[in-house]
Symmetry: D2
Subunit: 365 residues, 4 copies
């Protein structure tokens, strides 16, 4: 079967490098276009990038000529475009690609709050992709050209938060109060400069700009639904689901740890054993669809009292699964537990790849 | 004025070393006896200890002969005895010293839950010392020998938690729900072996044995009162103050960071500005009494959005103050904020020293 | 083909766990016996071990019953026994296994200096195994039972040092002066307790007990030869090869970095380009023999001026290769360069596995 | 006595902040002018700076108006100007200040190699200041206006290297070969961005741009002398003193550790005990002159086998002393040992302050 052609915007950045790693040797996609700033355009990728991954720069990507981030050249032939662009440039560029009819899967925050843009954690709410699926099918039915769409990847810390909540809400009804305190890895901040060494050595920074607001809002969109027409998203109202986040940057390379507490709206609440079993039993749609990157086990529920730990557990199912531990009753809300997710896989580039795999399974790509 | 004679139990351990540092050049106390295991007894202190402090081993302590931990020898002449003993031996030894009529100030957990033992964070609830003050005065009035007493230092993470709450409760009434997620330094775990390097390098351990239970219980004793007779402590009942703690070990040498949320029982709740001002205005009794180690400013309320940070802020007022930052409304409870305290100063040895200073000011020592 | 039966001594320790990981799913060996202290004996392995690896405990090892470290029970049937024992018990136990006719491959230091015991870095001096190969063949020819043998794995920091030197010595003759300053990872020290966190957080410990002596001596045995009869090893005399080591413990989980300088005895010395090419061209015997764990590229010579780096480069060829960078002329000796090796793979358990693969290829196992 | 007026160039940067800390409450100097880029000029210092020190921003500096870096305004009245400017702007600005008759003490590298510019580690070669002292005295004698001068602070890692060598060379004659492998702290690289966190977390970067060349050259100037006229410096020729440096960046906040080896030109070499005693006995001129910041003990020779360690030993004598440990014979050269120096004190801003104190004692300021 012919591989689908993939483009990467912001290819020399931290997220872009991850996209390239995940796309090399991918069974469904191949890298067809790499875009970066005009400073890099025209160079071979290996000369344009300062490669900072533990895996070597894939041979297949080394000599690809970097282009400017415009929907032309090799990008014109792409079936899907992954964007690792910074927010200050992502707005205009992604819009141009959408208008040129491209399927854009973006890690930037710019369009996450747009009413008709799906904000997707692929192991959580792939059903939100139906809004773009519908658009594409309607155009097809009407004999129109395939419309461009933007799908947004959630914030990295939101992904870890909502993953274990999804099956719980499905099984036990709404969560009306949720608190999370995060201990976030530094890789999420990129690396030029990213987080300064002096800020995390023997230290914690109890603040990440905009992060708490993102978590508190995105959670309500991801766990919310759509309007009747299925064309726009309707986040859960604040009164129905109160979310409080406190975000910290710590000396961890990869893997966000979150200490969360939550309360169900319905009484009586389930038992600890019930919610553990529900999380264990959860099989995400991507797994059911047979997507190549989908986790075998979506949520790993650990019984050891000192787990999950980022260094030991972040790579379960290649980073596409989340790990949950220390599930126990909470004196203030109903339950508390620790969630670990790989911020650059299920929280960023990997999520983008898995979204693309789902879209391909649904013939949108 | 003659210096009071001080003994240190567990003198070669991590907490013991801190007691020795804080006692050297102290204006009110001098080291008179050092106790350790029989393996160390009989040696000069410098030969018995593996000194691991950033300050050099004080000259005055180097040649003191280490004794066994018995209320005899030089210990018999001590006015106060500081205990840095491990819990597995503290029980019997501290009891023996108490029965020998000594004032024992202990960092161990063994007697914290005893009804007539004050559990004291000296910048928070020095009034709890009245229970032992009373015992001593009654014995004196009755012409009896001075009775031995044990005063317990709180758990290190409890100290940071209750410090900012005290003035708030005094001003605005009870807190009925409180959550805290801690990011705790490794120095609190001692150093032989203490926390293993591999556990905190590029990692977090989301569990500290017994810590959450201590925080949830001790907070209610420290913020609680006594019976009518003033002879026993009556912790706040669980129903009146629900406390939920989630404890993590992180790669920080000194300084516990806590992300806390809380709700007042009374409505309407005060404003953010009011609680900040109340914390800023708080002057602890030790400061009013002129204790030499008392902080000049008990609670530092920081306005920068990324503070407090352990490396930058843990040493305010030599570690006897706490720092509070990011005070803001909480979507789930009333307020959330970040608290930083120095775990080996106000959370351990330093608390013991300051308790002794208060007891001396009150003529108990 | 039937898998060879492997035993692991010290199975619950740090090195033992690595042996188990490397043996699970191995194409030539299968775990047949696990030995630990009498405290663990009789338990299922999963109940005896505190598993601290990033890979999960292999299913196949979970229920194996741990035995005492004696050459009986399942150990009696083993074709090869890997020892991760601590030095304080390794001496007697390994001797007992040898006397029982076993092939013992040991990570302990006890027998490294024995004249007839090969000290082997498998990518460097597998020819030293001929001494035991000969013993086995002679016994076979004489119709005697297969004799027990001990083969020692080198010290972890020695492995990284000698790997790039071997092809250079082969090509350009003896090195008469060699200095190395190491920056060593903490995983090499095990984890109960291993290196204390407080010792490596914002710190360096410029001392590792016995390490410098090991490096200075082992290098001369590994790069040396045997007597005429091929029965005993004759290390290079000190006068022919002066080695000076300075060892430091740093905050790195896996991967020893060494800054080395060296001078050839012969004049004129080769050029920088020549020695880089010689290292690049080196193919170790294990690779030629087709051993399953042998590195594809034995020595990676990096051209980027800031490499190798432990986090980025330690896993090349699954840790069985070494990486060399910054090869340049040295103002004092001839050349200086940076060498990185994975201390728990090519410097410990992995070396043991690769030695076993070579011995199997040579019909000793 | 009236305090001398001090200006600080590059006042908002990392080195500038350290100058300000060291000047606040200084017994001989007071801050009179602060200079930064035009972006900061006109603002109160507290509004222009992102303060990142463990000590609080001194009250006295908070409201000082930041000026542009020109020898006018408050700078015109300064008796001494400390420069923490980056190399890309230091050249022109420092030249302008010199031409305006100012005494400029610079941490930048720009003028270090100028023949008539002293390159000074104040605890090592204060006699090099005689070149500028002479200029000033000659101008005075001739009735001319006081000439401007530039004095350069050495590279931070050079300072630690030469400190223990100075008394050894004085006592035992030239060192003809010297190797050093450094493990350097991240604070030396500033903090916007400085060293990226991802580069030092579980990692080492074996390269610091330009650092090795600086160490190899500066050492020869600092340990060298002047021409006969005493007007220009003559570094030791390469043939007389071969220096080889290998520089690494590690996860340490403050304090450069160096593993050095060296050989004396004269035979027989002294003994280990002799060189330890010589280093212990060394009293630097600044101490003899009674300079307020001079170390009480210039070189601390430690006997514990695992010291010096940066976290424990970097603050000896407030960072103005160096610590030496593990002095022992070296199999390749004569001796090897470990040197620790505080890179931002004796290796940067502190050195500048101590140079100024010496110049004041000599009436140049």
């Amino acid at each position: 079967m012919a591989l689908k052609k993939a483009g990467v915007l912001g290819a020399t950045g931290s997220v872009g490098q991850r996209f390239i790693l995940l796309l090399s040797n991918h069974p469904e996609f191949e890298i067809h276009a790499l875009g970066a700033s005009s400073r890099s355009a025209g160079k071979a990728y290996k000369d344009a990038v300062t490669w900072k991954q533990t895996d070597l720069l894939p041979e297949s990507a080394k000599s690809i000529l970097v282009e400017e981030c415009k929907p032309e050249g090799n990008f014109a032939e792409c079936d899907v475009v992954f964007s690792g662009l910074d927010a200050d440039v992502a707005g205009d560029i992604e819009k141009a690609f959408k208008e040129a009819g491209k399927v854009v899967i973006s890690n930037a925050k710019n369009y996450r709050r747009e009413a008709d843009v799906p904000l997707v954690v692929p192991i959580v709410n792939p059903e939100h992709l139906s809004v773009v699926e519908k658009k594409v099918q309607e155009a097809k039915a009407a004999g129109k050209p395939k419309p461009g769409v933007i799908v947004c990847i959630s914030n990295c810390s939101t992904a870890g938060l909502v993953a274990p909540l999804k099956p719980l809400v499905d099984a036990y009804g709404p969560i009306d109060a949720l608190t999370t305190t995060t201990l976030q890895a530094i890789s999420g901040a990129g690396f030029s400069p990213g987080v300064s060494g002096i800020d995390v050595l023997d230290n914690i920074v109890p603040f990440i700009s905009g992060e708490e607001e993102k978590m508190e809002w995105e959670t309500r969109k991801i766990l919310g639904g759509t309007n009747k027409e299925g064309t726009e998203f309707v986040p859960l109202p604040y009164e129905q689901m109160k979310v409080s986040a406190q975000c910290n940057r710590v000396a961890v390379s990869d893997g966000h740890t979150e200490c969360i507490s939550f309360r169900f709206a319905n009484r009586p609440a389930p038992s600890v054993e019930q919610i553990k079993q529900t999380m264990r039993d959860y099989v995400c749609d991507a797994t059911k669809l047979g997507c190549p990157s989908a986790p075998k086990q979506t949520i790993h529920v650990l019984e050891e009292n000192d787990r999950p730990q980022p260094r030991l557990d972040r790579d379960r199912d290649a980073g596409y699964a989340v790990s949950v531990g220390r599930v126990r009753e909470d004196p203030v809300l109903d339950f508390k537990m620790v969630v670990l997710s790989h911020n650059t896989i299920i929280g960023a580039a990997g999520a983008g790849i898995l979204i693309a795999e789902i879209l391909k399974a649904k013939n949108v790509i």
